[in-house]
């Protein structure tokens, strides 16, 4: 099952990942990180396709994407 890991310390709460995720995997936290931002969290991890659109769009390189077994590549990057 694909999954993402968000580095909450790097996240600046711009919400671009929330916008681009086709599966609604990500939402913003209710607590602030040490920089004072609401950070992104994978709240629907089982829905993750491993498309990596969130990571591709993240300006802070806060997201890593992992896959296991079959991985559908939707585009060349």
């Amino acid at each position: 099952m694909p999954r993402i890991v968000v580095d909450e310390k790097r996240c600046k709460g711009c919400e671009r990942c929330v916008e681009v995720c086709p599966q609604g995997v990500i939402s913003m936290s209710k607590q602030l990180n040490e920089k004072g931002y609401f950070f992104a969290m994978p709240t629907e991890q089982p829905r993750c396709l491993g498309c990596a659109l969130c990571a591709i769009n993240c300006p802070d390189v806060a997201i890593e994407v992992f896959v296991h077994g079959t991985h559908y590549q939707f585009f060349t990057y």
Binding site: I56, P59, V61, E64, V65, H68
Partner: protein, 261 residues
């Protein structure tokens, strides 16, 4: 578990100072990924501008220069001509490249310096607090055109890749954007091709990346993405404008010919 997307080696672990949602971070990552994928990090020499990305020397994990405002293409010329084995790239904003640095970019392109220029165009001066740029759109409000850019007073925005496209010297000139995943993916292709052409010692390469500045545009990151799409893309067309021909090498034209092929 296999990691299919991770942190590039050509970026330092530093957290950037860029605003939330600023596309600088994305573009830095694309450059770093290109350097990693082409194995160029240990030969790379980047040149940071004056602008929001003035601290880029803290973010790229390769040898870096800090240049005077606008002069990065000249610094790149010096570096590349003295050490052609280095992969020299500049990373410049719209004030740095299209205003004070206008002479330097045109002449570096015209001489065909084999460097890679990453031109971040966000239609405003970010670092100094939101003044008008040569690429600011008509009607766009900035601190030095508070009534909106008026073409009869301030002229029209400059399209840099089209301007450089008038030069005869072979080059790779492309304009991309970084506000949606589809555009970021295309930007990655262009940036990687630019660095690949430099590694093959082919020609001058430049990629203009249309970018957002949510802070100085006075919008959220999402609104800024929409504004870029609706206002900038119609004026600044995307695509690869110029590529060197497969067999194109600098031509020593016959004495009599004024206009080569």
């Amino acid at each position: 578990m296999k990691k299919i997307f991770g942190y590039p080696e050509s970026l330092t672990p530093s957290h950037t100072h860029y605003c939330p949602g600023c596309t600088h971070g994305t573009i830095h990552r694309l450059v770093a990924e290109a350097l990693d994928e082409l194995g160029l990090r240990e030969r790379a020499a980047g040149i940071a501008p004056v602008g929001c990305s003035v601290l880029a020397y803290n973010y790229f994990n390769c040898d870096m220069f800090e240049a005077a405002h606008g002069r990065a293409p000249a610094v790149a010329t010096g570096a590349k001509r003295c050490r052609p084995d280095l992969i020299v790239f500049t990373y410049q904003g719209d004030g740095d490249l299209a205003s004070i640095g206008m002479a330097e970019i045109i002449h570096a392109a015209n001489r065909g310096e084999k460097i890679t220029v990453i031109f971040v165009n966000n239609a405003i001066y970010g670092m100094t607090g939101g003044q008008m740029a040569p690429t600011t759109m008509p009607g766009q409000v900035t601190t030095t055109c508070p009534a909106g850019r008026n073409p009869s007073h301030e002229g029209y925005p400059i399209r840099m890749v089209e301007l450089l496209n008038t030069l005869r010297t072979p080059a790779f000139l492309a304009r991309v954007a970084a506000h949606t995943p589809r555009h970021v993916i295309a930007a990655k292709q262009a940036i990687r091709e630019a660095f690949r052409l430099q590694a093959e010692d082919r020609c001058f390469t430049m990629v203009e990346v249309l970018s957002t500045c949510p802070t100085n545009w006075g919008m959220t990151a999402a609104e800024a993405n929409r504004w870029l799409h609706e206002n900038m893309i119609p004026y600044y067309p995307l695509g690869v404008l110029k590529r060197p021909a497969a067999d194109e090498t600098p031509v020593r034209e016959a004495a009599g010919s004024l206009i080569g092929v």
